[in-house]
């Protein structure tokens, strides 16, 4: 997420300032940065080991030693939530990257080349017609459960959303005089696509990327909960919830805190995405 924040800064120096002047977007951004920092620095800031078992302290309610309690094997929940955040966030971020790459290619091809539009758009529509999680389960089942395959599967699932955004913007930009001017000056098509079209699609991509980030966190948790996600020994928020569900009545903190982490992260991303969209869309409407 930090990477997205800095890339907006490079893209338009005033954007970060304008974003921070909106309370909800600023709250989202700050929350995301803090969550990302906590996840990155987890090994240094957490008081306990995420894997060390302590049978004597199993299922301890939150107290001054174990702030958020311990799980059924006596592992510290706070430590595990932060460590799980590393996996959940990096998986979700990788999903954004993978879906962007696939989506950009499909969207540019569909939007820029008239002949490719119909077949590619129908493919996109067909993929959108599948329920997200079902398609992801099918793909992970076919590919095998591993972090890489989960990223790949979710990347494919969310690629059509990116592709739609890119295609829609490309359709507009393709007709702009500076693209025609570039063609009149014999700029090669790949250069036009990257320099003149893709660069101008950055804003909607950024907005969509933020939303897909949030969706991917939920989807990854869902897959892990259903047991078709990443291997259970690597903690993710979804796996923690899945493992803790049998203690829902006796030790609810096992589910509550990883669930809270998901809620806060997704909410923060949605707030940030809404803020970005409000900031970037009027500008788009004016310029294009």
């Amino acid at each position: 997420m930090a990477a997205i924040a800095t890339s907006t800064q490079g893209h338009n120096p005033g954007l970060l300032v304008r974003l921070l002047s909106r309370p909800t977007a600023a709250a989202g951004l700050v929350a995301i940065v803090l969550i990302a920092l906590a996840a990155i620095l987890a090994p240094y800031v957490t008081p306990h080991s995420p894997t060390q078992l302590s049978i004597a302290n199993r299922l301890t309610a939150p107290n001054t030693v174990y702030w958020l309690g311990t799980d059924e094997l006596g592992r510290d929940i706070l430590t595990r939530v932060l460590h799980a955040g590393r996996t959940s966030l990096s998986v979700a971020f990788s999903v954004v990257i993978v879906s962007s790459i696939i989506g950009i290619v499909l969207g540019l091809v569909a939007g820029f080349f008239r002949k490719a539009d119909a077949p590619v758009s129908r493919l996109i529509d067909a993929m959108m017609a599948f329920p997200d999680i079902l398609l992801a389960i099918a793909l992970v089942a076919a590919l095998g459960a591993s972090a890489f395959n989960v990223v790949l599967a979710l990347g494919i699932v969310y690629a059509p959303r990116m592709a739609r955004v890119v295609r829609a913007s490309t359709l507009v930009i393709r007709e702009l005089p500076y693209v025609e001017a570039a063609r009149a000056l014999a700029v090669p098509t790949p250069v036009i696509l990257v320099r003149h079209v893709l660069r101008n699609v950055t804003s909607p991509l950024l907005v969509q990327g933020t939303f897909i980030f949030a969706q991917a966190i939920l989807a990854e948790a869902g897959l892990s909960f259903l047991g078709v996600g990443i291997s259970p020994d690597i903690p993710t928020w979804g796996i923690m919830i899945s493992a803790g569900r049998q203690f829902m009545n006796s030790a609810s903190w096992l589910l509550f805190y990883p669930g809270l982490a998901i809620v806060i992260t997704v909410l923060a991303l949605q707030l940030l995405g809404d803020g970005l969209r409000d900031l970037l869309d009027p500008r788009l409407a004016k310029d294009i």
């Binding site: 008239r114 702009l176 005089p177 500076y178 025609e180 001017a181 570039a182 063609r183 009149a184 000056l185 014999a186 700029v187 090669p188 250069v191 320099r195 003149h196 660069r199 101008n200 310029d287």
Partner: protein, 338 residues
């Protein structure tokens, strides 16, 4: 193909550009012929829908389906003296010619530049694309071009983004970009239409000066006859995809042999003429009706329904382009009487 006179840089011969759909054929350009001599300016004049822009896109090879050249030749002599038929040129041939040999400037200076790159960057891209040059050299050349187009304080404007410039400035940047590789033909598609009147005349002056300096020929597309008088040596007047009058600029302004040209000239606002001494305003003349859709042209003269000189024969006999004077052609049955 080799029968191109040595001083002629562009020869459009019986060009037909049609837009075909399943049911109708729109003959956007239907048998247009003209020559452009080296170092001269030819103006193509007409209303919206007369086919003047499609003519320029045909020459540049920038038509997109369903539009395409049906027949005719577009002979172009490059700077090495090689003659190309642009009506049949391959995509590869066009890539070599566009930008380097033939450049184009457009009507909309506000949107003809990419908002995300500095103007120096965009001129530099253009240069780097066609010449073997390092980044630093391309930048130097870009700066030199900005000076040629008389942008004040060029060294500092090089790193400006398009939104930091006025429309006139941006059009100057477009001209700098177009001329960066010293093309022998510049196609200017209504380059002054979107600009203020004072800026218009500055840009026209600039184009004239650059023409003296660089020696390029200009194909100037416009709907404004006032602009034509400023810049062109030769004028082609188009209506409904056909040439209706073709003459050197002086005879054309002295005596129009086609009613449409007369009408166009009468439509040009003239403050001195339209405002009488008593302060009373004369209504500006306008040609009645509008350009007929090119898919439903009348059988005779396409202009007949709007023409005040029309006789019965006009609506049945299609007039031919005929000589009515020295280098003066007109497509009208009654040219001799006008």
């Amino acid at each position: 193909m080799s029968d191109l006179a040595p001083d002629t840089i562009l020869s459009v011969r019986d060009l037909r550009t049609w837009f075909k759909s399943r049911r109708v054929i729109a003959k956007a350009v239907d048998g247009v012929t003209f020559d452009l001599k080296r170092g001269q300016t030819l103006a193509v004049v007409g209303e919206s829908g007369s086919g003047k822009s499609v003519t320029s896109l045909s020459i540049m090879g920038l038509l997109s389906p369903p539009g395409g050249i049906e027949s005719g030749e577009v002979l172009f002599r490059d700077s090495k003296g090689v003659v190309h038929d642009l009506a049949r040129a391959s995509a590869r041939e066009f890539r070599r010619l566009r930008g380097k040999e033939i450049a184009m400037i457009f009507q909309e200076p506000m949107t003809s530049l990419n908002p995300l790159y500095t103007v120096g960057d965009q001129i530099g891209e253009m240069i780097a694309l066609h010449e073997r040059m390092s980044h630093a050299e391309a930048r130097r050349r870009a700066l030199e071009m900005l000076r040629h187009v008389e942008i004040p304080d060029a060294a500092n404007r090089l790193d400006d983004y398009p939104h930091q410039m006025s429309g006139g400035m941006r059009q100057r940047v477009m001209i700098a970009m177009a001329l960066a590789c010293n093309p022998s033909l510049l196609i200017a598609d209504e380059p002054t239409t979107a600009l203020d009147v004072t800026i218009q005349s500055q840009i026209l002056d600039l184009l004239r000066r650059l023409q003296d300096q660089f020696g390029m020929s200009i194909l100037f597309i416009t709907h404004n006859l006032g602009v034509v008088a400023e810049i062109a040596q030769d004028v082609v007047v188009m209506y409904s995809g056909r040439v209706v009058e073709h003459a050197p600029v002086v005879p054309l302004f002295r005596k129009q042999k086609h009613p449409y040209t007369q009408g166009l000239l009468a439509c040009t606002p003239n403050a001195a003429r339209d405002l009488s001494a008593s302060g009373e305003r004369k209504a500006l003349y306008s040609i009645p009706g509008s350009v007929p859709p090119i898919t439903a042209l009348p059988p005779g003269c396409a202009f007949a329904p709007r023409c005040r000189y029309a006789i019965d024969a006009c609506s049945s006999i299609p007039p031919q382009l005929e000589a009515v004077g020295d280098h003066h052609l007109s497509r009208c049955l009654r040219s001799a009487e006008l």
